[in-house]
């Protein structure tokens, strides 16, 4: 029994503080609405520049990815290292369905979303069935991500290979205008936040928390571990596909680096670590801060990687719980982390047997 005790607490890097505070519905809706209102003002600053608006749209797309990854990893502890690949299934899938098969844009986005969702669900189902654990789930999904990258490069007659493909469909619509794409992506961000909030408040959210806190105890209490992990993966992967597909149409082209492991997954992990894994608003806060920093450091070129590497190390060593929980405990309020030892990684380790 002591072994499973360590195993359950071993993943406490994932432990989010916010999940434990029950918040009322009006409060949650108001928080999401306030976030939406604040982000809706961004085009007032950057709207006059085509480049900066593009950066902001990409930032929101990353916000979507981070929310989805947070749902899969933060809520159910499945380390999906194929965020970019699943978004790429959405992006490439929708582009191919619209341009080469000739489907309407909406239909191709929906089909590609469904495909991403099913692939994510399948990966999760396999991982849970074979009880792979955090690390091996990470390796299997990383293998899927790298296979996808090589597939895109390999079948260049369909995907355009290294250079990527322009997307012809939707060229004359609002999707290629300057400002409207921003609000389309913002709509997705708010939708995803709402879905995540809904899930957390429901029976499913209760099961998620039980699962993450102690898998064995959750199973004993009657939580169907397989089912809820796969639900989270289906929902999160669908979000990834939808965001990837929508972003591709606004960008007007797809290429491998838009969905690469180094360009997407690593960035999403940094964003989430920054904002706070397992929190509702952490992913979007992380995405906004990261996008701004990235734009400020653009002069540095390759050296930006050095900054991100250092950031990863600092985040995981010192600000383990992310900005939102850290800020909240600094500001006081009723959320004293010391009263919940099992969500503080440093403490959780000492509770394990030596």
């Amino acid at each position: 029994m002591s072994e499973s005790f360590t195993a359950a607490h071993g993943t406490s890097l994932v432990g989010g503080a916010e999940a434990h505070t029950a918040r009322s519905w009006p409060n949650l809706l108001a928080t999401i609405a306030a976030t939406g209102a604040a982000l809706a003002l961004v085009p007032l600053w950057v709207g006059s520049s085509r480049v900066l608006t593009g950066v902001a749209v990409l930032g929101l797309a990353f916000g979507c990815y981070a929310i989805a990854f947070n749902l899969i990893f933060g809520s159910t502890g499945q380390l999906f290292l194929c965020v970019g690949a699943l978004a790429g299934v959405g992006g490439y899938g929708a582009a191919i369905l619209a341009d080469q098969v000739g489907l309407p844009i909406v239909a191709s986005i929906l089909l590609a979303t469904l495909a991403a969702s099913l692939i994510g669900g399948l990966l999760s189902w396999v991982a849970v069935r074979r009880s792979l654990g955090v690390i091996f789930t990470g390796i299997v999904t990383l293998i899927f991500a790298l296979s996808f990258e090589n597939l895109v490069l390999g079948v260049s007659s369909v995907t355009g290979g290294d250079a990527g493909n322009p997307i012809a469909a939707g060229a004359e619509t609002f999707l290629r205008a300057r400002i409207p794409p921003y609000y389309v992506m913002l709509g997705l961000v708010l939708l995803f936040l709402l879905v995540h909030a809904l899930l957390r408040r429901s029976y499913i959210g209760w099961a998620f928390r039980a699962l993450r806190d102690d898998e064995v105890a959750a199973e004993l209490a009657g939580v169907n571990v397989t089912r809820y992990r796969v639900y989270a993966a289906l929902a999160g992967s669908g979000m990834l596909g939808l965001a990837g597909a929508t972003y591709s149409f606004t960008a007007g082209r797809v290429n491998p680096t838009t969905f690469g492991f180094a360009q997407v997954d690593v960035v999403v992990i940094v964003m989430l670590a920054f904002g706070g894994i397992g929190t509702l608003l952490g992913p979007i806060l992380g995405a906004v801060v990261f996008t701004v920093i990235d734009e400020l450091l653009i002069e540095l070129g390759q050296l930006r990687l050095v900054a991100y590497g250092a950031l990863i190390i600092v985040l995981f060593l010192w600000i383990r719980r992310g900005l939102i929980p850290t800020l909240r405990s600094l500001l006081g309020g009723g959320d004293d982390p010391a009263s919940r030892p099992d969500t503080t990684p440093g403490r959780a380790v000492s509770t394990g047997p030596d």
Partner: protein, 285 residues
């Protein structure tokens, strides 16, 4: 076909050495070093810069091995310290994230400071005919070195006191402590060894094809795939998996194409995990 198989063996021996370094560190310390490929790249760069300064290839290569060992020691002394304070999955996860950070720092700096540089060692001499296939001296020298390294590893781990001590820690850390073995010291040794092995890969690889400064991530991934297929913590597994995957990769590359051959490697690794995960995962019961 024979040519592809022979190329595959040359490649596979290097895969074996590459994976040995990763698998030992994981088996012994529960540490997944995602900056492993960067260790190899830094060692290659040390060799390159030393040779630029006019030093002959052999002392430069030895200096590269020394640099690899120093890197391993440095990892053990700095970035892995907070990792060692954790246990189980939290330890693997933290080691993975922190070394990923290190990998980014190294990649970013090297791409900025030495863009497009790469090490390639030219071994002179005429091509030799083996089984009807003309093999370049570079490939033969590389295979010779990797074979010797693997043989030494086998001997040390199987027959020496040190090797037995290390294997006992992999098997049961508590038990090893009780009979007077110091696990942290073994871990430091293994990290130094893994750095040297990374450098060996860099040097031997550069005799066959250039090792570029951007190669770090793909080296790590290759090592990870071979490690996973071979079984964590096992040198024999790493050696066999390296050979098998090297041959598969060469044949697939010759007949199907480079990108798709990598997919075949990846799929092979994926299936191995799914078919026998318990045999591959050292820390799980």
């Amino acid at each position: 076909m024979t040519a592809s198989i022979l190329d595959g063996i040359v490649l596979g021996l290097q895969f074996g050495v590459l994976a040995s370094g990763l698998t030992l560190v994981y088996g012994l310390g529960g540490v997944l070093n995602l900056a492993y490929g960067q260790m190899a790249v830094i060692s290659a760069l040390v060799v390159l810069l030393t040779m630029d300064a006019g030093v002959p290839a052999v002392p430069a290569a030895l200096l590269g091995l020394l640099a690899g060992g120093l890197l391993g020691w440095l990892f053990d002394a700095t970035i892995l310290r907070p990792v060692y304070r954790r246990k189980g999955e939290a330890r693997v996860l933290l080691s993975l994230l922190l070394t990923l950070g290190v990998a980014f720092i190294v990649d970013g700096y090297l791409n900025w400071a030495y863009p497009l540089r790469g090490l390639s060692l030219r071994i002179g001499g005429d091509a030799v005919e083996i089984l009807g296939v003309r093999m370049r001296m570079g490939s033969l020298a590389a295979s010779g070195i990797t074979l010797v390294v693997l043989a030494v590893l086998f001997y040390v781990f199987r027959y020496t006191r040190l090797g037995r001590a290390i294997r006992s820690v992999i098997e049961n850390e508590q038990g090893a402590k009780l009979v007077g073995i110091d696990p942290p010291q073994m871990l430091r040794l293994i990290l130094i060894l893994s750095g040297v092995l990374a450098a060996v890969v860099a040097v031997t690889r550069s005799m066959v094809a250039p090792v570029n400064v951007q190669a770090g991530f793909s080296l790590t991934v290759l090592g990870l795939i071979v490690t996973v297929v071979g079984g964590l913590g096992s040198i024999t597994g790493a050696f066999l998996a390296g050979l098998v995957l090297g041959i598969i990769n060469s044949i697939a590359a010759a007949y199907i194409g480079t990108f798709l051959s990598l997919i075949i490697l990846l799929v092979a690794a994926g299936f191995t995990i799914l078919i026998r995960p318990a045999g591959l995962l050292g820390v799980r019961e």
